[in-house]
């Protein structure tokens, strides 16, 4: 569903962009590492508005000093960040990554490696990549463009990104810098600010019903009595999303209007 604020009609993708951008609010001078189109637009929107200190990369080996549109070339290099320095930055903690997830559970355990039995998977995916090191060393958020019970599962098949229960079971070295900030999906925003660090609803995007959320989630998700709605972008933010950061509307390919 689309809603109208003032004269502009805000799409679901644009709510998602703002929800992703909010993940980096207050982070200070750290690297924003967005995986996926909408988190990338979100990180750039955050830098252009309420989080100008954020560091951004070109997606390869450079830190960029400007904020080009998605897909456009940066014109200003402010640093060098090849893979091995990137990994060092992860371990130094000066980074907040927003990763994807093929599966995620209520404690934030995430899987991108394989579906089924690891020894002989039904579906081989990417591999664990840097999810284990990311989750133990720097703040981590997740972006899930299609919220479904196949993604939001009771238990993940292979723990790549470490959730709160797994970190606690692994002990002090695992929990020392472990922090899962939030999960953003095409249906809403979630965090782990509960007594047992299980996932809860922070807000649902306008137009999303509680039934729709429950049908799309493979575990019980506590809801507040009055469900907050994800904030709409301001007129200025909307202009930045549409005209500056994502003029070719790549966001609509990741999350379609409904």
């Amino acid at each position: 569903m689309t809603t109208t604020t003032g004269t502009a009609t805000v799409t679901r993708a644009e709510y998602c962009v703002v929800a992703c951008a909010e993940a980096w609010r207050g982070d200070g001078e750290v690297l924003a590492s967005p995986m996926g189109t909408i988190p990338s637009i979100g990180a750039r929107l955050a830098k252009l508005t309420f989080a100008p200190e954020l560091l951004l990369t070109d997606g390869e080996a450079l830190l960029i000093g400007d904020v080009p549109a998605i897909g456009a070339r940066s014109r200003l290099t402010e640093g060098w960040l090849p893979y091995r320095r990137h990994l060092t930055m992860v371990m130094g903690g000066r980074r907040h990554v927003m990763m994807g997830a093929s599966q995620i559970d209520r404690f934030g355990n995430q899987n991108i490696s394989c579906v089924g039995d690891w020894r002989r998977p039904d579906r081989q995916l990417l591999g664990v990549r840097g999810a284990p090191v990311n989750t133990l060393n720097n703040p981590v958020s997740y972006w899930i463009p299609r919220h479904s019970p196949r993604v939001f599962v009771e238990r993940v098949d292979m723990i790549c990104g470490v959730g709160y229960d797994s970190a606690a079971a692994a002990g002090l070295s695992a929990t020392r810098f472990h922090e899962l900030r939030r999960v953003v999906s095409d249906l809403g925003v979630f965090d782990f600010a509960t007594a047992d660090r299980s996932m809860r609803v922070v807000s649902l995007h306008p137009g999303v019903t509680v039934e729709e959320l429950h049908d799309a989630t493979g575990f019980p998700l506590p809801l507040p009595a009055e469900v907050p709605r994800t904030r709409a972008p301001s007129a200025g933010e909307l202009r930045l999303i549409r005209d500056v950061v994502d003029p070719s509307a790549l966001r609509d390919r990741e999350v379609r209007a409904r």
Binding site: E60, A61, L62, W80, P82, Y83, R84, L87, V90, M91, S113, C114, W118, R119, R120, P121, D122, R123, Q124, L125, L126, G127, V128, R129, G130, A131, P132, V133, T135, L136, N137, M158, I159, C160, G161, V162, S166, A167, A169, A170, G171, L172, S173, A174, R176, F177, H178
Partner: protein
Amino acid sequence: MSGKVMTPDAIVGRLESGMTLGIGGWGSRRKPMALVRALLRSAVTDLTVVAYGGPDVGLLAAAGRIRKLVTAFVTLDSIPLEPHFRAARERGAFELVELDEAMFMQGLTAGAQRLPFLPVRAGLGSDVLRVNPSLRTVTSPYADGEELVAVPALRMDAALVHLNRADALGNAQYLGPDPYFDDLFCEAADSAYVACERLVGTAELTRDAAPQTLLVSRHAVTGVAETPRGAHFTSCVPDYDRDEAFQKEYATAARTPETWGDFSARFLAGTGEEDYHLAVEAWHKEQR
């Protein structure tokens, strides 16, 4: 020191079945594909491959050359999932040692420094420890007493890397923005082989480039081969970008044994690197 310049086939002639082989590059970037293609033309098999995996792993897996794979991922970058790797895993074709990217880096570093292991804050709480039951943890001897993962050294019999330039002595240079881990691969291997876009005189290496682009030093190199476009179809910037159209063709061909058979017959069955590039050139002409 002399006599390091070799052909890709001569380099592969130094390799033996059953070896542990490191392959440089990252995903579908600056992979020593000319050396991998030479490997495919040889009878060398039963390999333990250590790599941040891309189509190097895919091709060797499709040809049944891998007994064991040590990796954190296998991807074609612009195509996230490597089709041959997927298929091989789903039919249980080889043993997998699945490590996190930072664990892998620590393992390579330990291998280069002749340490038995290096600690890392990664793996704890994840299933990396469950699926690799031989991995151990180590307790800090200092006041913090932290328990960390002890990544065993990744030591290799041989390493294969591809760089932009090299001299005949084995000094090798990257001109793109990312060194990946190629120097560590060379230093963590008993023998290292460098393929390069262009073999140049030593003086030419720093004529227009800063000395810190000299990534690999000759003491860590056994053999050098000049293989122009030898990283194709992966990227080798600034010399060339990834051949996205051809990579797509590769991934599409991997879908069925029949289409893969056709692809192999057309592109990989020749007697050398030249045949491969001629076939690719002809294919590109057809696409216009």
